[in-house]
């Protein structure tokens, strides 16, 4: 299958390993990945911070660039959530009916990675090998905006060598929330402290999720406290094999 990669600006700039892993995984499964180079950002930060008008050109760009593809994938529940639940709203608010219907059409063809694998490609065992104790944080937008449900866990359970430990109070937000982490830094930190407490209680050496943003947040806290627990994107684990491990040692 020919699949267009919506890399997301955050993964492109700060977390490229999630995107390269997505490419390697899909190619290993026999699919063709294309990367439309003029893509930038879906505009979620603008929309969620109160600047929907500034987001209009970004929505227009995103729709123009991804409209030609039948299937679009992003290694981010949050960015797919914005495409699926906010782009048409922004277009409608701007009074652009043509853009609204095109945005709805692109949204219907855009998938978060675990949705693509399980629902579109029909695969739950991707042939990965990752010999680590792992706990999975179901990010809020994957959980409640996209309803990815058990798909990521199903994929993780099929990974050879992987010891999956349930994260206590996993449905609670890590406290990131985009600009919330800066505007309400202290409440955000209090939420992060509880998330880290639960991660540490599992005894896992790796915390995974399907959003680079939440992983940057949780990982930033785990690193600041020198816990030795690392954050690894779900795509990295699924791309990992004996010959090409995502984490060495």
């Amino acid at each position: 299958m020919r699949i267009a990669l919506f890399v997301t600006c955050l993964a492109d700039t700060m977390f490229p390993q999630a995107a390269t892993a997505t490419v390697r995984l899909l190619e290993r499964l026999g699919h063709e990945v294309v990367f439309p180079p003029d893509q930038t950002c879906c505009g979620q930060m603008h929309i969620n911070t109160g600047y929907p008008s500034d987001a209009v050109p970004l929505v227009r760009r995103h729709v123009r660039i991804f409209d030609p593809y039948d299937v679009v994938v992003a290694p981010s529940g949050s960015c797919v959530g914005s495409v699926r639940h906010q782009h048409a709203m922004v277009a409608r608010r701007a009074g652009d009916t043509a853009l609204t219907s095109r945005a709805e059409s692109v949204a219907a063809r855009t998938y978060e990675l675990s949705e693509l694998l399980v629902d579109v490609l029909g695969v739950t065992d991707v042939g990965a090998y990752f010999p680590h104790r792992v706990t999975y944080h179901p990010t809020c937008h994957s959980l409640r905006m996209l309803r990815v449900g058990d798909r990521p866990r199903t994929l993780l359970r099929a990974v050879r060598g992987l010891d999956l430990v349930e994260l206590p109070a996993q449905e609670q937000c890590c406290g990131f929330g985009g600009t919330f982490a800066v505007k309400n830094a202290e409440t955000s930190t209090a939420m992060l402290a509880d998330k880290m407490r639960h991660v540490l209680a599992t005894g896992a050496d790796v915390c995974t999720a399907s959003d680079a943003s939440c992983l940057l947040h949780i990982g930033g806290g785990l690193s600041r406290l020198r816990t030795g627990v690392r954050t690894v994107h779900l795509a990295e684990i699924l791309a990992s094999t004996e010959h090409d491990p995502a984490v060495r040692g």
Partner: protein
């Protein structure tokens, strides 16, 4: 401030009266509560307990999602024809011997109630727990008129005696533990036994003794309403102590203050809401005390009944296509109990009698965005509130809508608005975007790798590291492979 709505009602609740506005922004108020270990513990314990209880009784309801959808639909229909339903309610209440008063705002409502109490010749009233009367600051208005209001809901009594403010819609004293309650009772409760212990049964017995005497000797009661049936003119109050029932049946005069959105079209609609409300709020299958009355019944219960219909900014909320769904709220507080922000910051951080996610959308709409501009940002948009809401209010959608309103309300550009415009321009020009990626990497390499970034980014680096900048961006990797 904008002009009156097309219905002629004021666009916002007036300032200087009631409790919809805090003294400081959410982040500033939250800073204090976050640093209080006792409060954090009380909140964690209470919200975790209610969450588990509510989840269990919702799980045993096979048609919960259909009940929610029906609740949302009935409320949406009600709001679409609110003026007509309110006039129907007025007609039925009047036919049944009640008197209906229309209050455009808090000032009018307080004056109407004060005049009615005076006309009844009373200098004290007993009160049923009510959010509407907290919203308008009725107790302060009565005090100023020389009338003593006595809260009879146990938690509201604790808050009142402690000269405190409620911090939860359903559990107003959620921020207090039993040792603190004992101290408040010993200090403030008339005739209290000085040997009172902090045992919950002893505390409840002390309140009971004090309140029973008050019930028997007070001729006027003031209540709110959970529902008002337009078809029959019936008012309904749900509570779990029975103290509300005392207030609604013992006095000679009953005055009910109700937000205009509390009306439901038909008697049968109660069948639905009395299933939704207890499961979502207290985690009970059935509400313990459900009191319903229609006007005045000769020889039985209060012989004078007044209904005060309160607008106080609601018509303006109704006029907003996105914000309107906020008025579906049945004050169950499920959104507070599941909110990770509320659980840590507590109710007082919201500055209004309506805390938590529903408060973050309701308060700024009632007061106008200028007076509560930080509240729509007091959320990570995690969506737990939307999932928990028994009438399916899409709180994250309204929060995002109000953030845009907050930005639009600023008169001049801010550092944030300039940065946002610059970021949008950059993101719309791929060459600039790539240049910005390179620049950020170089500055990070040259600098301190994310430690001690300048404001506002120090909000991040105060408690979190930023990772080492990657050697290559994804697009560089793609171009080079």
């Amino acid at each position: 401030m904008t002009g009156p709505t097309f219905l002629g009602m004021p666009a916002t609740a007036p300032p200087g009266v009631g409790h919809l506005r805090g003294d400081e922004s959410f982040p500033a108020a939250a800073r204090r509560s976050l640093a209080d270990p006792q409060l954090r513990r009380n909140l964690r314990h209470a919200t975790t307990t209610i969450r588990a209880k509510s989840a269990a009784v919702i799980a045993e309801s096979p048609d919960w999602e259909r009940l929610r959808a029906a609740g949302a639909a009935i409320k949406a229909d009600t709001l679409n024809r609110l003026p007509e339903l309110l006039e129907q309610l007025e007609a039925r209440v009047t036919e049944a011997g009640g008197v209906v008063h229309w209050a455009a705002d808090a000032v009018q409502a307080n004056r109407i109630v004060t005049d009615l109490v005076r006309a009844a010749g009373a200098d004290r009233v007993i009160k049923v727990k009510s959010m509407a009367t907290q919203e308008i600051g009725l107790n302060e208005a009565l005090d100023a008129a020389g009338i003593t209001p006595v809260e009879t809901d146990l938690a509201e009594l604790i808050v009142q005696l402690g000269d405190d403010r409620p911090s939860h819609i359903l559990v107003p004293a959620i921020h207090r533990n039993r040792a603190e309650i004992r101290e408040i009772f010993l200090r403030e409760m008339p005739g209290v036994d000085p040997a009172l212990t902090a045992d919950p049964a002893a505390l409840a017995a002390a309140a009971r003794r004090y309140l029973r005497e008050t019930f028997l000797s007070t001729p006027v009661a003031v209540s709110g309403a959970n529902f008002a049936v337009a078809e029959t003119g019936t008012l309904a109050v749900v509570e779990s102590e029975g103290n509300g029932r005392m207030c609604l049946t013992l006095p000679r005069t009953l005055i009910t203050v109700m937000g205009v959105e509390k009306v439901v079209p038909t008697w049968r609609d109660l069948e639905l809401f009395l299933q939704l409300l207890p499961r979502a709020s207290t985690g009970e299958r059935m509400n313990p005390y459900t009191s319903m009355w229609t006007g005045v019944t000769p020889g039985d219960g209060p012989q004078a009944f007044h209904l005060v219909l309160l607008d106080n900014g609601r018509s303006a909320v109704l006029a907003d296509e996105v914000g309107r769904q906020t008025l579906r709220c049945i004050r169950c507080s499920a959104c507070l109990n599941v909110c990770p922000v509320y659980e840590r910051a507590g109710g007082h951080a919201y500055g209004s009698v309506y805390p938590g996610p529903i408060g973050a959308v309701l308060s700024p709409q009632l007061t106008g965005i200028d007076d509560n501009a930080s509240l729509p940002y007091a959320s990570t948009l995690c969506g737990a509130c939307y999932d928990a809401c028994p009438v399916k209010i899409n709180i994250p959608e309204v929060l995002v809508h109000l953030r845009a309103e907050a930005v639009d309300a600023r008169r001049r550009p801010t550092a944030e608005s300039i940065a946002m415009a610059a970021a949008a321009y950059t993101m719309d020009h791929p060459r600039l975007y790539e240049a910005a990626q390179r620049a950020s990497r170089l500055s990070r390499l040259a600098g301190r790798r994310g430690r001690g970034l300048p404001p506002p980014l120090n909000g991040w680096t105060g408690s979190r590291d930023l990772p080492e900048p990657p050697a290559r961006t994804f697009r560089q990797w793609w171009a080079e492979r």
